[in-house]
């Protein structure tokens, strides 16, 4: 059970200069020259530091927050945070007025400075983004929150910097829900787990007594839908992360699986299997009205809505093999869109609406790829022995998925891990988890 995260953010714009944006980061291409950026440790006075040290057991919260920002910028692949050893100016003075020549000397094009104050049991963090070459302030913001939220402050700062420099919303103040795995392949124990996007603050939401699979976030709040084998009845469940309350929503006379929320968060779309036939259904969470969407004797599964809610992409083997189809949200106008060589599965509509991410199996290899919603422009981002189940970052720029390794005849060598890759096909990264992991789902931004 997770305690409600208390976050009171008071933004106030100290001063914002939108007029001259000299630095710009292009995120539409693979970025081979990440922007050199200096993240100065946030300055903190002795009194504030002593007060926070007691609560957070952290030596210097100012430099810890700057490390969160630095790590986020680095993993984005778009920025190159410079080594702090080379910094010439002290953090508190730089925050007031940077000596731009000093920062230009170490080749920084952008500079982040900040200040932390602990007052009335609240953590107040101020930060500024500077354009080093133009010698100008680009942005200044301040946040007030409870001290235990300090990592989130780092994520929010990164989101603001990312948005200012790329022109698109960030994805750092987000969480990943996934399935934590352990034990031998034949008796895998699986638990629902949640963590911050950067791998910190892992919490387990189930105990591992029953098999759980495919958790997915509600795009509008912190609810999750997933498949649980509770009492050996595979059914779709709904979980409120804040209260820990779980309830079955897919209590049909057979297996319900492959759940996802509608973009407005009001419906769950899922598969229901009976008598050897899987069809797609929706359930309205307010009035519990169930609607049958597909009607075909083949397997119809892995449904995912378009962000405007008007269309659904899904996986069907009605052609004889697994392929990707789209239809209107009422089930009409079914159209196959995947025509390349191989099998296609797990289609997921991009939050930007223009692309569908998928898993492809061809000649014994698994690929994560994207195609336009009419099936054209197929692009394979990564090839591996086994990988599947992409999930989009809320800004539609990054995909997270899971990858399994081959095992020998005794089952040794097997692992399941989360990976992320940019839509550009660059910046492939292992996402650290405490245990083996699969079925990741990316939340929307926790704050805006």
């Amino acid at each position: 059970m997770i305690r409600r995260i208390k976050l009171i953010i008071i933004f106030f714009l100290i001063y914002t200069n939108h007029a001259l944006a000299l630095i710009e980061v292009d995120i539409t291409r693979g970025n081979l020259n990440p922007l050199p950026i200096a993240v100065s440790p946030l300055s903190i006075d002795k009194e504030s530091n002593d007060g926070l040290k007691k609560i957070l057991k952290v030596k210097n919260i100012g430099s810890e927050i700057s490390k969160v920002v630095e790590n986020n910028l680095l993993t984005s692949g778009l920025f190159n945070p410079l080594s702090k050893d080379a910094f010439l100016q002290k953090a508190d003075i730089a925050h007031l007025k940077p000596r731009f020549e000093d920062w230009a000397l170490i080749k920084a094009q952008a500079l982040i400075t900040g200040k932390v104050i602990f007052k009335n049991d609240k953590l107040r963090v101020e930060f500024r983004l500077w354009d080093v070459l133009a010698g100008k302030e680009m942005m200044a913001l301040a946040f007030t929150t409870v001290p235990t939220n300090w990592r989130r402050v780092g994520h929010i700062i990164t989101d603001k910097v990312y948005e200012r420099l790329t022109g698109e919303k960030g994805y750092f103040d987000t969480r990943i829900i996934y399935v934590a795995e352990e034990g031998p392949k034949t008796q895998r124990v699986k638990k629902l787990a949640i963590m911050d996007q950067d791998g910190f603050n892992t919490k387990y939401l189930t105990l591992g007594n029953e098999l759980v699979l495919t958790p997915r976030f509600n795009p509008t709040n912190q609810m999750v839908t997933y498949l649980s084998y509770f009492r050996n009845l595979p059914r779709v469940y709904l979980l409120d992360i804040e209260t820990g309350v779980q309830e079955v929503v897919g209590d049909f006379p057979g297996m319900t699986f492959a759940p996802r929320f509608s973009p407005d968060g009001k419906k769950i779309i899922m598969s229901f299997a009976m008598d050897g036939n899987s069809e797609i259904y929706t359930m309205d969470l307010e009035n519990r009205i169930v609607e049958k969407i597909t009607n075909h004797p083949s397997i119809d599964t892995s449904p995912s809505y378009s962000p405007d809610g008007k269309y659904i992409c899904f996986n069907s083997d009605r052609s004889g093999y697994q392929q990707i189809y789209i239809m209107r949200s009422d089930g009409s106008k079914v159209k196959r869109i995947s025509f390349g060589k191989g099998l296609y599965g797990t289609p997921v509509w991009s939050p930007r609406g223009d692309l569908i991410a998928f898993t492809k199996l061809h000649k014994g290899k698994f690929y994560i790829g994207v195609m336009r919603t009419d099936g054209s422009g197929e692009r394979l981002l990564t090839e591996n022995y086994y990988q599947e189940a992409p999930s989009w970052s809320p800004n539609g720029r990054v995909l997270i998925f899971y990858r399994e390794t081959k095992s020998d005849s005794e089952g040794k060598g097997f692992s399941a891990k989360l990976w992320s890759i940019d839509l550009t096909g660059y910046n492939e990264r292992l996402v650290d988890t405490e245990s083996d992991a699969s079925d990741p789902s990316w939340s929307s931004l926790l704050s805006n």
Partner: protein
């Protein structure tokens, strides 16, 4: 003329060699026919001579001749033991996406259920559960292991 005959004979000998070597490779993996498992390694028995499981080809839920023979024995045993109910557990191998495999496991178990019902077993005595690729019996990543995992297992429910 004579030369072409020699060639023809040589060709025949080569062909025989190929066929023989093909047989030889088949012998090494004689636990599979096509990619359907035909061995006994993992098989358990509901009663003497009544095997508990049947195997499937990749992406298939069609019952093979051998599977149908196994299921007829299961049906006969179920008719004799009319108080026993069963659960059919459908499974897939690890070379497919999780959600599709859940559906495929359900389809496999149901093709077994349908067959048992045509041999007089009431649908009320049979329940079905799919585990997709979640519960392999063989944890290897090789074609033989996968063939053992593509299965439907009949388990006593009471």
């Amino acid at each position: 003329m004579k030369l072409s005959k020699i060639f023809k004979n040589a060709f025949l000998i080569m062909l025989t060699g190929l066929v023989l070597s093909a047989c030889a490779t088949k012998k090494v993996t004689n636990q599979m026919q096509g990619d359907v498992y035909t061995g006994k390694d993992t098989v358990e028995y509901l009663a003497s001579g009544v095997a508990d499981r049947v195997f499937f080809a990749t992406n298939e839920s069609v019952l093979t001749t051998a599977s149908r023979e196994t299921l007829r024995k299961q049906a006969a045993w179920l008719r004799k033991n009319s108080k026993i109910n069963v659960v059919l557990e459908g499974h897939a191998d690890e070379r497919g996406t999780r959600e599709y495999n859940l559906a495929l496991g359900e389809r496999r178990a149901n093709s077994v259920k349908d067959y048992l019902m045509t041999y007089g077993i009431s649908g009320n005595r049979i329940s079905v559960i799919s585990y997709g690729k979640e519960r392999p019996v063989d944890s290897g990543s090789n074609p033989l292991a996968w063939s053992k995992n593509r299965r439907s297992v009949t388990v006593k429910a009471n």
